[in-house]
Symmetry: C2
Subunit: 283 residues, 2 copies
């Protein structure tokens, strides 16, 4: 299998899309990178920065001319793009995405008569957005989940897997549902919590300054997450509503347990709770 | 004011104590550093590493021979140490601490007939512990809170302030209660939450592996905090029980609000909630 594409298309050129462009260029996976963005502004900026070679005018251009297409836009908008791309895709076109939930994969797979679409989720990112924030190493040593369905074309799956592996990711395969359930706990919940913690102190001041000015490293990690793009995360919270609510329940149970021990001033129980959590990370 | 001490004593030579030793040595604040630790093992190790010059055999030695003493041990043990040191302190001895709560300051101040004790809290740390984990730059550009009481000797307060400023900290003065209230929200809560989030996923697996293996940057920040020393944090949760329970309430209110918006699938309300939190960090 020769892993070199004639032309790769990227839809959405923010942090994720531009980092993908820089990474595939570095690994020489294609001769040419085309980009398309909804408003056109981020793709134009990416062209100015030399991240992509050409700004496509519409999805038709991308769909007809690219043999590998990566969709990197807010997750609720992905199904519409897939629906249109399904009209243009040739038999050998491969389409994948970076959406943070995979709830739409089962349904959208049906649009493609050539089974062109492989759902995916490279688990990488920073709190920054826009093409300027992209960097070729974003994906290295991180995990990428691919979510085939029963009818997925295994050859196309293997190609998508090889692309992510070439730019440094560890690829894990699971069903879309499994993905959404797991991500609710380990990716979406940290964001729910970070936004809520910041919200809970937003009106607290000391000497006219926000108390967050006194924060140490622990709180700063939370604020980094809470600076993420609110539209993108609203999309995710809605797209993965069911599993996120379940993850909130899981968390609330744990919080209730620890809170009870604190109310009871039970040194041993608190310490065991903390030690058990810590140990679970080291197992 | 000449900021040079004849002999500085450090009680507890973990991350905080050893970093303090390295920092004051770097800034030439003393000719000699004596260390004391409860079991003796960490002070012996610190001596081997060249971090301190002498391992004191008891508190008497430290109290009688050092003109500046920094106590860096789990917070619930600090009052006992202060009670004993109060018997040995000369008029010009200055004693401060690094305890994460300041609930004991008002009471312990009374032990000292020469007003030797100034409560403090350098807000710096990592998830590591032990003398090996210390480094001279730990305190630089971080915030240190000093918590005088009504009767505090202002000259001694100024000296403690100058020490922390010399090793790079921004010193903020507030009452012990104000300190504990603020720290509950911005330092203790991130730990409560991190331990609970990790606890909530401890029994979740995918293909025989913990799902935490699939975690991205957001979750990893939480797990870093949840690897902190459990005894130290149990102490803090107990010592600051009242304000921590209040901070948990604040957080639960925010979580309830966001959860309701997610249940209602209200895009605008979720987005506004996230945007408001984000904005509060930038104000």
């Amino acid at each position: 299998m020769s892993l070199k594409f004639r032309r790769i298309g990227i839809i959405g050129i923010g942090l994720i899309g531009s980092s993908f462009a820089l990474a595939i260029r570095k690994k020489n996976l294609t001769d040419e990178i085309w980009g398309y963005s909804n408003t056109g502004s981020s793709s134009k900026r990416a062209k100015e920065l030399g991240i992509i070679d050409y700004v496509a005018n519409n999805l038709f251009e991308i769909g007809k001319n690219c043999d590998f297409i990566f969709i990197a836009i807010p997750v609720l908008s992905i199904p519409l793009i897939l629906k249109e791309l399904a009209e243009y895709a040739r038999e050998d076109t491969i389409i994948t995405d970076g959406g943070s939930t995979k709830h739409f994969v089962e349904e959208c797979h049906k649009y493609f008569k050539f089974k062109n679409f492989i759902g995916g989720h490279p688990i990488a990112g920073t709190e920054k957005s826009g093409p300027e924030s992209g960097f070729a190493e974003l994906y290295e040593n991180n995990c990428c989940i691919l979510t085939p369905v029963r009818e997925t074309d295994i050859k196309k799956l293997e190609i998508v897997k090889a692309v992510w592996e070439t730019i440094g990711m560890n690829v894990v395969i699971m069903s879309p549902k499994e993905h959404d359930r797991i991500m609710a706990n380990i990716s979406h919940m940290p964001h729910v919590i970070a936004y809520c913690l910041v919200d809970s102190v937003k009106d607290k001041y000391f000497n006219g300054d926000k108390i967050t000015k006194l924060a140490g490293g622990g709180f700063k990690d939370f604020t980094r997450i809470a600076k993420s793009d609110e539209s993108m995360w609203t999309d995710i919270f809605l797209a993965n509503q069911k599993y996120i609510l379940s993850a909130i329940d899981d968390f609330e149970k744990s919080l209730k347990e620890l809170k009870t021990f604190v109310i009871e001033k039970d040194f041993e129980k608190i310490k065991n709770f903390l030690a058990r959590a810590k140990k679970s990370l080291l197992d």
